[in-house]
Structure formats: C-alpha cells, structure tokens
C-alpha cells in the first residue's frame, strides 16, 4: 500500500565537489548501480549521480527473468540493488541532472543543473532510455487524453473501456495483463510478429477479452476532446480500417537518453552510444553501459552485466594510466 522511494524522500547529502573521482557514474539504473558496486570493490573512488535510482525498474510491475528472484516487483528489485550499493558507502547524488560533460586534460568535468561542478578521471554513461513514441498523427494531441505510455499509472482510468495496446515485446504483453484487470476489451496492434516470451504469451492465451492484430500498423489516432479510435493498416491485405477505442497504450520499446553526450561520443542511427567489448566509447576514459548502448537486448540482467564489465575495464584503464605516468598531476 505504500511504495516508499528513497529517491524522493532522502535529502541530498553533502556531496564532495573537491574530490577528483576515479569514476563518476551518471545514471542510477541497474547498469550504473552495478558498475558502482564493482568499481567500489576494486577500490576505486566512485560516486553515482542520478536523477532517479532504480531507473526503469520503477516502471515495471513484475520482474520474473532475473535468476535467483522468482517474481519480484521492479521496485523491490531496485531497492535491493540500491541497498547493496549503499552498504559499500558509495556516495550517491540523486535528483541531479547533468547539464554538461566536457573533456579536460586529465579526465572530465561534469556540470550539474544546479551549478555545481564535479571532476573525474573517467565517466560511465548509464542514463538508460525512455519510452519510444509511435510518431503518428494524433499521438501528441491525444497524449493523456487516451494515449498513454504508463500502464501502471493509467490503467485505472480505463475500467470497462476498450483499449488498444501497440507493441509485441514483453512490455506490451505485460501491459495487456495489467490492463486485463480493468478494461472491458483489449486489442493488440503490432506491426510484425510477437517477440514476447512464451510464458507471457501463454498467459495472454488465457484472457477472454483480448483480440490480437499482428502485421498491422497504427497510422493515426482520432478523437474530439478525447481519443475515440485509431486507423490501422493490415499489411497483408493493404487495407486500412478504423478501430473504435477509448485508449491506446504504447509499449514499443525505448529510445536511449544520449542527447547530453551527442557532441562527445560516436552514436549509431538509433542514438545509442557505440561501445566496444569493454564498454569503451570513442573517447578514452569515457564508457557506457546499459540501455543507452548499442547492445541490442535491453534486459535488466544484461544492463547489470554491462555495468560490471565497464567497471572492470575502467579499473584496468586507470591502472594502465598510472603505470604510464606515475607522477601525473591531477587537474
């Protein structure tokens, strides 16, 4: 009944702005937190800067694919991650937004939105991603007037109504399951075939109030004051038709949060930060891990693994640098 989130209720702690950190992790999701854990255990001076600890775990009702955890809530898992890192006394600055990241002679300078500046020898980009939009007509007009990107938030408004779900991955399947407790009927519209896990598809097969249109594209959202329906294209027959619906939940994956480093690092056409097998970006000392990278499978366990890899690679990078130039002055 109470979802206490230490992000919001903890007061910002004094955060040392004079230190030259070994590693500053930007982002508090699974990738960032696990990188901090690994780096701290290696003895690095590491700190985490994040808007929100837990990242997208907070948007996930249930997690059932992290080995060792049979059905855990996203929030509970986030709390466990955070608690674990806290036991190592890693300084964590939350509610913090990075205004600018710039290269300096011996590392990087991070300027925060509140004006403070931080310095570090290396930086890990672990800012994750945000929900992707369909970019179709009417999507913006009817946002919050039927169009939603958060099932847990908005499902209660669709009691007894007919809603569409766009997408065919695990998030879409989970959205259908969440909505099935409220909506009168749910119609899935997906441009290709299901990508969701079989266990979720088996669950969908038990729902009586579900219709699925695969190989079908959403073209436009219609309405007056609020959304009343959508136009879809059946890709096999090349015919369009109108679906009457009160809502549309868009669960078609995510977009990386990487605009803030666009002038520094190489990104691919999707905006993902391109990394090598050591999570290194195109800039020495600058690494990336988790959903923000060009690694194709966006999963909790993979993001945490990337965080670990990055921390280990950064440790090597720093050791190598010290050997190269043992008397180097910092900053």
């Amino acid at each position: 009944m109470f979802e206490l989130n230490l992000n919001t209720v903890d007061r910002p702690t004094a955060f040392d702005t004079d230190t030259l950190w070994d590693l500053l992790v930007v982002g508090g999701g699974p990738a960032g937190l696990n990188a901090a854990l690994y780096a701290r255990r290696k003895g690095l001076q590491v700190a985490v800067i994040a808007k929100d600890f837990g990242g997208q775990l907070h948007n996930t009702t249930d997690v059932d694919n992290v080995i060792g955890h049979t059905l855990v809530s996203g929030k509970a898992l986030a709390d466990k991650f955070l608690e674990h890192v806290r036991t190592l006394e890693v300084p964590m600055l939350h509610d913090a937004m990075v205004h600018a990241l710039t290269r300096q002679r011996d590392g990087f300078m991070i300027e925060l939105a509140d004006g403070r500046t931080l310095h570090s020898k290396t930086v890990l980009i672990a800012t994750g991603s945000r929900p992707r939009k369909l970019n179709i007509e009417g999507e913006v007009t009817y946002a919050n007037k039927g169009v939603s990107y958060c099932t847990t938030c908005d499902a209660p408004f669709f009691k007894g109504k007919h809603v569409l779900v766009a997408g065919g991955g695990n998030s879409a399947a989970e959205a259908v399951i969440d909505l099935s407790h409220y909506a009168r009927h749910i119609t899935v519209v997906h441009r290709s075939q299901w990508r969701a896990d079989q266990v979720l598809l088996d669950k969908l097969a038990t729902l009586r109030n579900l219709t699925v249109h695969l190989e079908t594209a959403l073209l436009a959202v219609h309405g007056k004051d609020v959304m009343t329906g959508a136009t879809v294209l059946d890709k096999a027959t090349h015919t369009t038709r109108q679906l009457t619906a009160d809502g549309l939940f868009i669960e078609i994956g995510t977009l990386p949060i990487s605009e803030w480093v666009k002038d520094l690092v190489h990104r691919n056409e999707r905006g993902e930060v391109v990394v090598d097998e050591n999570q290194a970006t195109s800039i020495p000392g600058l690494y990336a891990a988790g959903d923000v990278t060009n690694q194709p499978f966006k999963q909790i366990i993979i993001a945490t693994a990337e965080g670990a890899k990055a921390a280990l690679a950064i440790t090597q990078y720093l050791n190598h640098k010290t050997k190269e130039n043992p008397h180097a002055q910092t900053i």
């Binding site: 109470f2 910002p12 958060c150």
Partner: protein
C-alpha cells in the same frame, strides 16, 4: 482498524523523519456521512504524526469549519494543508490520501516545509521569485503512478518558494467527478490556472515556462 504502516515501513519513515528541522502542522478536513478515504487519510496522518514529535495534526470538518475551509480554498474531502512552524499556509495541499507512490511526495513536502529545501540553480530561483500573479497548480495522480510524486513535488516546491503559487495533489480515483471534469485519463496531469496543461512529469523549468506564458 489494523495499522496502515507495517513495522518495516514505519521504521523507515521514522528514520527519514528524524531529519525534520522545524515543526509542521497538518490540517485535515473531512466530513461526516459518505466520505470515501476520509477515515484512511485520518488514520494515515495520525500514524505519521506518531512517528515524529515535530508533526502535529489538527482535525477539521468541511461543513462545520467552513470559514476555515474557505480560507484554505478547500472544497473536497478528505483534503489537508501543510502549515509551517509559524502556522502559515504556503500553498501545499493534498486532496485525497497520499498512499501508494504518493507517500513520497508527502514525506518530501514534510521535510521541505520543515526547512529542508533543496538547492536550486540561481537562474531557476530567480524565475520562481519573479512570479507575481496568482498561480494554482493542480496535479492529478493515481496511487500506482511512479512518475506522479515528482510532479507533485515540483508543484509544492514552487508553492513554498513563492507566495503567489499554490500546488495541490488530487487523487484522481477518489475525486472521480473532478477528474472527469478535467478529462483526466493519464497521470500525472498538471493543470495550471485551470487553463494550461502539462502532460507527464516535467522538469520545474517546464512548469515555469507554462506559468510565464499565462
């Protein structure tokens, strides 16, 4: 009634509330008869105040104390305002129970009303202080919405930092009719002076852009 806070949560909240600086008063308006979530809200505030000596509760009735309700522009029940150590209302209001995820905006407001305001960039502070016309910010929420407390927190921070601004959380399911009136079907829904709408949680700068455009 069994306790709303289990021992774990109570302990966690108690630890957080140890940070409270000055005392804070919660003035709750309920009404007799049909009043969904009134009893739960009252119980929740009572359990919270039992966790810190710095939190006081004053119980009022929307009808019997109508003058006072009017003074704080309260029309719904349950509804409560948060008063600072001097008993001053600084525009922080909650309509409906701040349970679920909304416990976070509630505890955050308690800490900030007690004097623990976070640091803002000087340019943002300057923009907040420049606002000189009455501004009302309604934030519609559901208790299962993880992004909503952030929006409520921003509205309340603006209210605490400028006497012309007041911010109110509205729990959309308890106040279903009001939500329908504002056509709420997605949260957080932020409505400024009943005219300008912001969709989703937004940085405080987006609130300021909207307020300055009024």
């Amino acid at each position: 009634m069994p306790k709303l806070f289990n021992d774990d949560i109570a302990k966690q909240i108690e630890t957080i509330l140890e940070q409270l600086d000055k005392p804070v008063t919660l003035m709750l308006f309920t009404k007799s008869g049909s009043c969904p979530t009134c009893a739960e809200t009252r119980q929740m505030l009572e359990e919270i105040s039992a966790l810190s000596q710095k939190i006081n509760i004053v119980l009022k009735d929307l009808e019997q104390d109508s003058d006072l309700a009017k003074q704080y522009a309260i029309t719904l029940s349950p509804s409560f305002v948060m008063l600072d150590a001097e008993g001053t209302y600084r525009g922080v209001k909650f309509n409906g129970i701040p349970a679920g995820h909304e416990i976070n905006s509630f505890i955050s407001a308690l800490l900030e009303m007690s004097g623990l305001m976070p640091k803002f960039h000087p340019s943002v502070l300057k923009r907040i202080q420049k606002i000189d016309k009455p501004v009302n910010i309604k934030v519609f929420v559901t208790l299962s919405c993880p992004h909503c407390p952030g929006a409520v927190q921003s509205a309340h921070r603006l209210a605490m930092l400028n006497e012309h601004i007041d911010g109110e959380m509205i729990e959309a399911q308890t106040f279903n009719a009001l939500s329908n009136q504002y056509k709420v079907s997605g949260v957080p829904k932020i409505v400024i002076n009943d005219a300008h709408e912001l969709v989703g949680n937004q940085p405080i700068e987006a609130f300021l852009d909207a307020i300055e455009s009024l």
